[in-house]
Amino acid sequence: MTMNDACMNKMAIDRLVPDHIKCFEAYIPSKPDDVLMKMTGCSRLLRLNNNENPLGPPPAARKIIETFPPPRASVYPSGDAYHLRCKLADRFGLHPDQFLVGNGANEVIAFVIKAFCQEGDNIVTADKTFAVYEWVATFSGFEARLVPLQDFAFDDAGMLARIDERTKILFVCNPNNPTGTYWSEERLRRFLDRVAGRQIVVVDEAYCEFVEQPDFPDGLGLIAEYPNLVVFRTFSKMYALAGLRIGYLAGDRDVVDIIRRTCVVYSVNGLAQEAALKALDDHEHILATRALVRDAKAMLTRELDHLGLTHVSGEGNFLMVRLPMSDTLAYRKLMTHGVMVRSMAGFRFPNWIRITVGLPDAMHALVEALAEMLHHDR
């Protein structure tokens, strides 16, 4: 091929790219620990940025991981997570066909959007919430209508007001990442009543297992009454299987039948399916994690008060802190102490960071690093 041809080919490729892809930038994931430690010159790295569970997977799931027979790696897994779906059905009193398992809840977000949106359609969600609903809609060429949070919480009236005849899906993160606010069962029901089945309502319950409030709704229990309700859950957070990538959605059978048409079969590996299945049974693990989060949050909020920092925490294993400096600068400074937090400009909370609440040592290290950073800044 001559250089001329190569030029022409590049130009031709450019013409193939849709405008909404041209305008979109790929997500930049953080580098692996070893690379980060080398770059920042620190000897340890505390990951307090992804809301992982530092207790690790429940013992029964650990066992599965430890004893996974290598020859099984050469065989395809169940293409639709058959056993896991049966287990979920059993556990939550639904039919196995009401579940779709994905490579993390992230993957099922794409399934739902692909299933219901076509050119000209839109989705409605909040401006300051988990980014992936907005991202998937945008890079798929659909409009993401973003409704500002009210008092750190999803604004039901605001969302309803943005619905038009091209609105297909409403995404509600309950409890909300990053603010920890949630809609009570009463509020969620009122919202679903007002939507009256005209749109799909997705309730993302990625952090529901952390919530201990009596008025917190059980989305799965509402599906029978609201067939347009789709619930997301994940094994990444409470069940500490983030590295295996497994999450799921549940909904009315007819709705799930439609979503299934867009789903990628065999995207969930066998080890993840089995570990998740075992993890579901371990209630002790949930109690231990909740206790850890409760205590660590109490300690952390006390220390943050000490440092004179404003913080917002609700449900979930994370809290937000407001800093007197740019969040991305704070990120870089804390990294020099080997502490990795989530900078929140990307969540449209400039000068806030989000901290995953975890083990006492990590919390102490964080507080120390924060104190030193603020001291230097003064």
Binding site: M325, S326, T328, R342
Partner: protein, 443 residues
């Protein structure tokens, strides 16, 4: 607030033709009519087509083999641009130095530098090498706009106890500009702000975004503006607060609003070259080092500021030993994890001829040089460019070095010998960070 994309696509008309003397009139006629069709006045279209004639004539005389060029005329929000692009073999590249003449052997005078002549007929001119090794010559003519009238001052709105942030429509853009130009010194807003029609067009085309704080009766309390610089950087102007003693809460809300719009786009960094006294503490960091050793200061007391929009993950940068000290101290000050590797000539065989691209903005009298190709003659070539740009009355001459491209480090000794100093790092503005050199004005 809805998902924002950087910018709308421009309307454009394209022609492909062989590079030959015989087709020069065709190119000129095409550009003239396309430019007028896209909204440029006759005078502007004439200038653009004359510039095109110069360029094509130059290409025709230079070309050794038959070649095609693409000529693309597009309407930007406030300008018409003609882009002439062609595949160029590396051996031919040096002919695209601004200082080149067709006959490189005789020391031709400035009047024979066709590319320079073409640049004089435009408002902005640049030569770049695009992906796919095509060379692109861009000739830009701004649409004419009347300057803002500053003789009838607008009354200050006074303190607003309630306001909402809103994207400004045309009427509010003009009101906003009237107040900015009235209450703030010229050094704190871009030149564009003196041309309200232009900013309205640019805002409509997505080139500027302006958000205002609007009171319940429609009063205008303040605002903030920003524009994209490429795909990765957003330049922010303001915040501007139209109240005698400011309004820190409004300023913070405007900053939050701007950052909220820019978040989740392709922007990696937000920069503010003209921070106002209203800029709230803690949002932005100082981009430049303190400059007490430097003459040629532009007189504005505030240093340029910036913030990253994303979490910094660290990378390798390449630099000549002469600037490693500057980089180390700057990266330490900015707390950027960087692995600085030294690069430069170790006596290996060099290409003979270097190539520089020049961008000339005649309105601002700023010229920016960028290296396109390394060569043994780089110091001489840069000296020739600097001399030429000096004669073209460019007040500021910058050199942009991409620290992600090791070969660019080779230009450093020549730059320093000519009186350039490393002025600042623009994080992630190139394939890695850009190091901006500036020519000392007393050099």
């Amino acid at each position: 607030m809805d998902t924002m994309t950087p910018k709308k696509e421009n309307r454009s008309i394209v022609m492909n033709m062989p590079v030959a003397e015989a087709f020069i009139p065709l190119a000129a006629a095409f550009v003239n009519q396309a430019a007028q069709g896209l909204g440029l006045d006759e005078e502007g279209a004439d200038a653009l087509s004359l510039a095109t004639e110069e360029v094509i004539a130059y290409l025709a005389r230079m070309a050794q083999v038959e070649q095609d060029v693409d000529i693309r005329c597009s309407a930007g929000s406030c300008f018409i641009e003609t882009k002439i692009s062609l595949p160029v073999r590396e051996l031919q590249l040096h002919a695209f130095n601004m200082t080149a003449t067709v006959n490189a052997d005789d020391e031709a005078g400035l009047d024979q530098m066709e590319l320079l002549i073409a640049s004089r007929m435009t408002d902005r001119f640049h030569i770049t090498r695009s992906a796919g090794q095509r060379l692109v010559l861009a000739l830009i003519k701004e649409l004419p706009y009347p300057e803002i009238k500053r003789d009838t001052p607008s009354p200050t709105p006074g303190k607003l106890s309630q306001y909402t942030l809103q994207a400004a429509d045309a009427a509010y853009v003009k009101w906003f500009l009237r107040l900015v130009t009235q209450y703030y010194p010229d050094a704190l807003f871009p030149l564009d702000f003196r041309y309200p029609g232009k900013v309205v067009d640019m805002a409509a085309g997505g080139d500027y975004q302006i958000v205002t704080a609007k009171g319940p009766a429609g009063e205008l309390g303040g605002g903030i503006a920003w524009r994209w610089e490429g795909r990765k950087t957003v330049e922010l102007f303001g915040p501007y607060i139209f109240q005698e003693h400011g309004d820190p809460q409004m300023a913070r809300d405007l900053m939050d609003g701007c950052i909220g719009h820019v978040a989740r786009t392709s922007a990696l960094a937000l920069i503010n070259r003209m921070p106002t006294p209203d800029l709230p503490e803690g949002y932005l960091e100082a981009l430049e080092p303190k400059r007490n050793d430097i003459s040629g200061d532009d007189g504005s007391p505030a240093r340029a500021r910036f913030r990253m929009m994303v979490e910094e993950t660290g990378e390798v940068v390449w630099a000549h030993p002469d600037v490693v000290g500057f980089l180390q101290s700057e990266y330490r000050r900015l707390v950027f994890p960087r692995d600085i590797q030294t690069a430069g000539s170790d006596g290996e065989a060099d290409e003979p001829f270097s190539v520089l691209s020049a961008e000339i903005d005649r309105r601002l009298s700023v010229a920016t040089l960028r290296p396109i190709w390394p060569g043994a003659d780089n110091a001489k070539n840069m000296a020739a460019h600097v001399e030429l740009l000096g004669r073209e009355a460019m007040a500021t001459i910058l050199f942009e070095m991409d620290l992600g491209q090791p070969w660019q480090a080779g230009f450093t000794p020549g730059l320093i010998a000519l009186g350039f100093f490393p002025r600042m790092i623009l994080p992630h503005a190139g394939s890695a960070d850009l190091l901006i050199f500036q020519l000392r004005t007393d050099a």
